[in-house]
Each structure stands twice: as C-alpha cells, then as structure tokens.
C-alpha cells in the first residue's frame, strides 16, 4: 500500500494524521501496518506492558500506568487499563494534540485495549481530532467475560468516535485453513484496517479529478453514534467499472452480521480510483448505482482520483453513516463509518500473492440481509414459491447452513 513517498512530501502540511495502536493487539497491528503500508504516516503505540513496548519498533511510544501496573500489563482487566490511561492522561493528551485525524487501533476484550481506548478516544475527540477506530472483537471461544468487556468498551468508544469499524475475529479467521498460521489470520484484520486508513488518507491528500477534502470528511462524520458501513470493490479489464461494482456488492465487510439490517446510508463518502481512461460517464453511472444501492438521497460526497498505473482498473470505496435500521435497544449504535480502501497498489500486490483481500479473503460466512435480494440469476423471474419459501433463494441460505469458504 505504498503511496509513493514523493506523494507524501507534498502532503498538505496543515492536515495531520496519526495512527495509534492501543494495547498488545493494537501495537502489533500498528507494527504490521507500518512495516507494510503506512511507512509515511506517523504512527504511535500505547501500552501498559513495558516488555512488549520495548519489542515494538514504532518510534513514538507511550507507556501508561506505570504506577498502576508496574509496567506489567493490565492482565486482561479493562478497569486496570482504564486506570492506567487516566494516570497518564497528560502524555496521552500530548499524543493526540494538534492532530486532525486520529486512527485508533485496538483489540477489544483484553485489558489495555478495552480500558485505555475509550479514554484515548475521548481525549482525541476533545482535542478536536476526528477519531476513527478500528477494533477487533474477541473470538467467541474466548468466553463471555471478554465479550462483555469488549462490548462495554465499544459502547464507550462509540461515544467519542466519528466512526468505529468493528472486525470480529471470528469473521476474520473463519475462512482460514486449519494449518494457516495465527499470524496470517490476524494479518487479514490488519489488511482491512490498512484499507480504511489508506482510503481516508487518499481522500485527504491525493489530488484527483473530483476532490473531497477534510471539510467534507468532517461533514459526513459529523454525527456520532450512527452506524457505520464500509465497503470496497475492485475491478479490472474492459468493464472494470462493472466488475468493481459487482465486487463491491460482494464485499464481505458489507455482510458483517451486525450490519445485516442496514445497508442504507444517510451520508455516503465515495472514493474512486481509476486509470486515466476513467470517464465522467462511468463515474456518473456508478454514483447512480451507489445512490440506489445505499438508498442515499441527500449526501453523497465523491472523491475521484486517476492514476496512470491503474489503467483498466477501478477501485471503489464507500464509507457511510446511517441511523436507519439500528434498533433502539441495541447497545449503541455504531457511529458510522466504514472505511474502505482504495486500493491501488494494495490490491494489486496482494493479488500477485494469490490472496485477495478485498474479495476472497474475508468472505467466509455471509448473512444475507434479505432473502429476496439473493436470487442471483433468478432476480428478474417470478417467485418460485413452495410452502412459503422461494425456491430460487439458495437452499443453504433458507436453511441457515453456514458455509465456510476456504
């Protein structure tokens, strides 16, 4: 996901953007990200565990809760994580001060991530930064306690963030083979995070035929506590645009279980990157399609960039926020946002390795929002009713058989 370093040198200096990993999982994620995509974006890590901080190559490090934990980590207690963060409030404020956009990354369910992340989000928010959070949710088999801790923390985080993108661990590894390394499974999560970070970075800093800027980003994410939606599609070939739209339809991030009911967005930010042959007609057609897909009437912000190396290929990223479809009794609504990626090189590079992040990798178990929308080639035909079921909808969907690809 390298943006050419040269691009970065002309980055608008007035917009500052920082990626901060919180807790063990967050630190690891940032480390992996920085070794990969985000070399040029400033990164930082926050942890209670001195040992793990020492092992982390990231330059900017904040050790929190030295008094509370003696540098021996929060031991899976989010309360301790919170106390540790409170203790070192000042250094955290320093960390997020004067930033325009802060990305917070953590694995929820443990101590430091769950405990310190809400504090950090609050501080960053107070300091006037836009806060985008990427959090992984614990595996089911980690038990209810961790799940509860994660949910509580998520609730807190959402209060202070412009967008929270949750990545359920279960979802991320479902498609993995048994023999796959843990590292590979976790890297899948990092890939999504990277896509999100890069798409927003790209919107802010890359110059394109149609520009969205910081103001429009702010506008889309001004309302907090909505639900977020995030998707990415990539296509290439003669009909790159169509292919990208199809791939977006299939984007697993739009099929996360908790997004089941809301594929609608109140506000939508669309980032499109294509070759120099990208035409206005294509863009308009795509916007029409997106508008109807996400039921978004009022606010769509478009950012389009063209790049020579993207000849014959198109990538679409949508980030939307919505209040629709979130039930009041839900713990909280997610602020909304999804991110996506833009992917220029990232996708190319991954494809060469034979893994496809945007499409293949994370699709594993799909929950179909509405059976009526899943009739495939039978879409246009009359319903095929038998005992109240539409036989054109896949049998495995109607019978709730979960399919684990890969």
């Amino acid at each position: 996901m390298e943006q050419e370093p040269t691009d970065l040198t002309c980055v608008d200096a007035s917009i500052r953007l920082k990626v901060i990993g919180v807790g063990g999982a967050g630190c690891n994620a940032v480390r992996r990200l920085s070794s990969d995509a985000l070399e040029s974006i400033s990164t930082a890590v926050v942890n209670t565990d001195l040992k793990s901080l020492n092992a982390c190559p990231v330059q900017e490090q904040v050790m929190i809760g030295q008094k509370t934990t003696r540098g021996l980590s929060a031991g899976g207690e989010s309360e301790i994580g919170r106390m540790a963060a409170e203790e070192d409030r000042d250094s955290l404020i320093e960390l997020v001060d004067k930033q325009d956009v802060v990305f917070l990354i953590a694995g929820l369910g443990g101590g430091t991530g769950s405990g310190a992340m809400p504090v950090l989000a609050e501080l960053a928010n107070r300091k006037g930064a836009m806060v985008f959070c990427f959090v992984t949710m614990p595996f089911k088999h980690e038990g209810n306690r961790r799940e509860l801790q994660a949910q509580n923390s998520l609730t807190q985080i959402r209060k202070h963030s412009n967008a929270v993108i949750t990545l359920p661990n279960d979802f991320l590894v479902q498609h993995m083979n048994e023999q796959d390394t843990l590292l590979k499974a976790l890297a899948a999560g990092d890939t999504w995070m990277a896509k999100g970070v890069i798409s927003i970075w790209s919107m802010l800093f890359e110059t394109g035929i149609i520009n969205a800027d910081f103001a429009s980003l702010k506008k889309v994410f001004s309302q907090k506590r909505g639900r977020a939606l995030f998707g990415h599609g990539f296509g290439e070939g003669a009909n790159a645009m169509d292919a990208a739209m199809r791939s977006l339809d299939k984007c697993p991030m739009l099929h996360l279980p908790d997004l089941n009911t809301s594929q609608k967005a109140d506000a939508l930010l669309v980032h499109i990157a294509g070759g120099l042959d990208l035409t206005m007609t294509q863009v308009n057609r795509m916007m029409d399609a997106l508008r109807s897909k996400f039921g978004c009437r009022d606010q769509i912000i478009l950012n389009a960039v063209t790049k020579e190396e993207l000849q014959q290929s198109v990538s679409i990223t949508v980030i939307g926020t919505t209040d629709l479809g979130s039930k009041p009794q839900r713990l909280k609504r997610t602020p909304a946002a999804l991110l996506s990626e833009i992917s220029q090189e990232p996708v190319h590079r991954e494809s060469k390795r034979g893994k496809r992040n945007s499409k293949g990798q994370n699709q594993s178990e799909f929950n179909f929002p509405n059976p009526d929308e899943n009739r495939g080639i039978f879409e246009e035909t009359e319903q095929n009713l038998y005992e109240g079921e539409d036989l054109d909808v896949p049998a495995f969907v109607r019978r709730g058989i979960s399919i684990h690809i890969q």
Partner: protein, 405 residues
C-alpha cells in the same frame, strides 16, 4: 428406395435448444441426419421469459439443423416442461348401456369423455390425458371391449398447462413457418426411452433433472401413474454456488462441472480447490466442503419436495425398479448415491437407446429430444413396425391435443 420421410424434434430448454432431424427409412428405422444446438436465451426455469430472444435462438437452431441435414422441415414435435404443468388423476364411471351387458365401443368413448371432462381453471388447457387402465365391475382390465360387465370404470392421469406459456412455444415454431405436430411434456418424452419396458412394468420413477426444472414420471404396470414438475434444476445449484461463493454464474457453472458432488464426501473435508482453476486474477482456493454443502442442501431439498409431491407411491413396493436419472444434472457426480440415500430407492443413470450412435447425443441431457424424435417416429408409422409396437402401448395413450392450424 423407400420414400424419404423427415421428422423433426425441438426441445426448448432452459440451458439449450436442441433440434434433431430424423430420416425415416422403410417402416421402422430412422437415422438422425441433422443435429443442432444453441445456447438458450430468454428461457428461465423452463418458461419462456423473453419471446423474441427465445424465438431467435430456436430459429437459429432449426435453420442450422436443416442446413446440416440438407432438408427442410415441415413439422416438428416439441417438448414442454416447467412448473406451470400440473398433473392430476381423474376417474370416469358408467353403467354399461347395452342390455346384454357387453361393453361396446360407445361405452368406452362415453366413459373416457366423463373422465376427461373435468373443467380446468381459467387460462389452463389440457396437454395430455394418459390412460391408466380400465376396470370392469371392479376388476382391472386392459382391454374391456367386448367384455361382460355392469359397471365400467376408467382412470386417467391428466396433464394441464398454462395456455399462455404453451402458446408461446407454439408461436415460436409457427413463426418460422413450421407446424407443430404435437407437444409432449418432457418427462414423458425422456421417460419413454431411458427406462426399459421391463422397468416400466415393475414400477419406476424417471427423474429428469434439467437446467431449469426437474420433471418426473412414474410408471407402473407399463402405464404412467403420475407426472410432475418441480421448479428446481441445475441452474439452481449453480446459482447457489454463485451466491454462496460470490463468484459469477459462469464460473460457478464450471466449478460445479469440475468438482461438484451431490454428496458431502468426508474424504475431502479438508481439501480445497481453486475457484476458477486457471490461475486467472482473483482465483483463490475454496474448501470443497463448502461446495458440497451448498450442492447437497439443494439436492436434499429437491428430494424432500419430491417425496412430498409423490407421497406414498415413492416406496420400494410400488417402485421396485427404483429411480432412473436423466437430464443434464444427472451428470453431477454421485447423484445416484445421493438419490439412493434420500429416497431409499435404487437409482441408476439412464442411457439413451443404443440406436443413437452419435456419442454426444448419448449424454443424458439429450434424452428428452431423442424421446421426442422416437415419439415422432412411432406416431408416423402407426402400430405396424416393431419399434413402434414396442412403444405403442404408452405412446398411444398420449392424446394429441395440439395440432397446428
């Protein structure tokens, strides 16, 4: 030199349109002299959904069949399938009219009229009345004419279809200046050739799993007991795969043909296979288990619906000859095993008769159209030839409802 007679058969299927041209020699032999096939467009789940597109495809197929056979066709037999078809039994009962209680021709006609007389709903027409046998004073009889008895009863299996859908196919053929000799529902057409006479006597279920629909017919004592159609076919399997694995329909189809199995094979539990298998961009491994689960869910459901529709007849006592599978989807690996498990009946793959020499035409997806051609042959040469005699039993029972204007 015997006079040259040309017969034609057209099947408008969900996935393909096949046209066969046969040349009849002497009394009982036939050569297939023209074959053509086009990909079907404008047909979904056995129904014509786009008349113009379907029509163009059919015309193209007929034209190229004529070209290959170097003859022109005047009239054809066509098959009919789809979910709109409905089958139901009727019974007619009369008191024998003559004072001496000898059953006469009149009685037969009268009882038939009663049995066939059930009026259909608006927009529906009869396609076939299939004679299921007579009984005289409660005793089963094949040939009641001339017998003594007070009460004569007849059973029919009736097949009706939606008039608009049937006339669509007729219009397409007529639009090319060709007459339709008769229309035969596809399960009867294929059933007649894939199961042996012996099997039809003992009791057999013929399951024609096509691309858009599954048509079945049940034979017992040499006559059709029941026919039916379920709107599930191979396309549904492909569509399930396409949606479940998020790949295009065409890729799903080739995946199905490449690795599809109708059972969940525990041997392959941890195996995976490449989606496209050609190293194209976006190719990725997918667990075979996922593929089998998707296919199996569909097949299992199909079998369940079949059981519900057929009911108690679907038992080893009634159908000792088991199930004969045909249609394109019968090429799915292990489908016989799957059918055996779900229906608890023996199952085998049907084969087209040995007189079909073209190796491609011997594949199960051509059973219907070959059955049509054979039906065309036997109806042209009524009763005398040995071949038609063999088939006359069931053939004659199919009444011709449609003859074109």
């Amino acid at each position: 030199m015997s006079q040259r007679k040309i017969i034609g058969a057209v099947e408008i299927g969900t996935s393909k349109i096949v046209v066969l041209v046969g040349e009849v020699y002497g009394r009982n032999s036939m050569n297939i002299i023209g074959v053509s096939q086009t990909e079907s467009m404008g047909v979904s789940k056995g129904d014509i959904t786009n008349l113009k597109m379907a029509s163009d495809c059919v015309h193209e197929a007929i034209q190229s069949a004529e070209k290959r056979a170097k003859v022109s066709i005047d009239s054809v037999f066509i098959s009919c399938g789809g979910h709109h078809l409905d089958g139901f039994p009727t019974t007619g009962r009369i008191s024998v009219s003559s004072p001496d209680n000898v059953i006469g021709k009149e009685d037969l006609l009268r009882v038939a009229e009663i049995a066939k007389g059930k009026s259909l709903g608006v927009g529906r027409v009869y396609l076939h009345h299939i004679l299921g046998g007579y009984s005289v004073d409660g005793e089963y009889s094949n040939t009641p004419l001339g017998m003594f008895g007070k009460e004569l009863e007849v059973k029919y299996w009736n097949v009706s279809g939606e008039e608009s859908k049937i006339s669509n196919s007729l219009h397409i053929i007529n639009g090319f200046g060709i007459k339709v000799d008769d229309m035969i529902i596809s399960s009867i057409a294929s059933g007649g050739i894939v199961a042996s006479e012996e099997e039809r006597k003992r009791g057999v279920l013929i399951l024609d799993i096509g691309a858009g629909t599954t048509d079945y017919s049940i034979y017992k004592n040499g006559v059709i007991l029941k026919t039916g159609s379920i709107a599930i076919g191979g396309d549904h399997i492909t569509n399930d795969l396409s949606l479940g694995l998020h790949i295009s329909f065409n890729n799903a189809e080739s995946l199905k043909q490449r690795v599809g199995k109708a059972i969940i094979d525990p041997m392959d539990r941890n195996d995976s296979v490449f989606l496209f298998g050609n190293l194209q961009i976006g190719d990725a491994p997918v667990s075979k288990n996922a593929i089998y689960k998707i296919i199996n869910a569909r097949i299992e459901e199909l079998m369940r619906i079949l059981q519900n529709q057929i009911g108690a007849v679907l038992s080893e006592e009634v159908l000792p000859a088991g199930v004969v599978l045909t249609g394109g989807t019968s090429r799915l690996r292990y489908i016989c095993e799957s059918v055996r498990t779900h229906l608890k009946l023996g199952a085998r793959l049907g084969q087209n008769p040995s007189w079909v020499t073209d190796s491609e035409l011997r594949e199960p997806e051509y059973s219907t159209v070959i059955g049509l051609l054979q039906y065309a042959l036997s109806s042209r040469r009524p009763s005398k030839s040995s071949k038609s005699k063999k088939n006359a039993g069931w053939m004659r029972k199919v009444t011709h409802l449609f003859t074109t204007n």
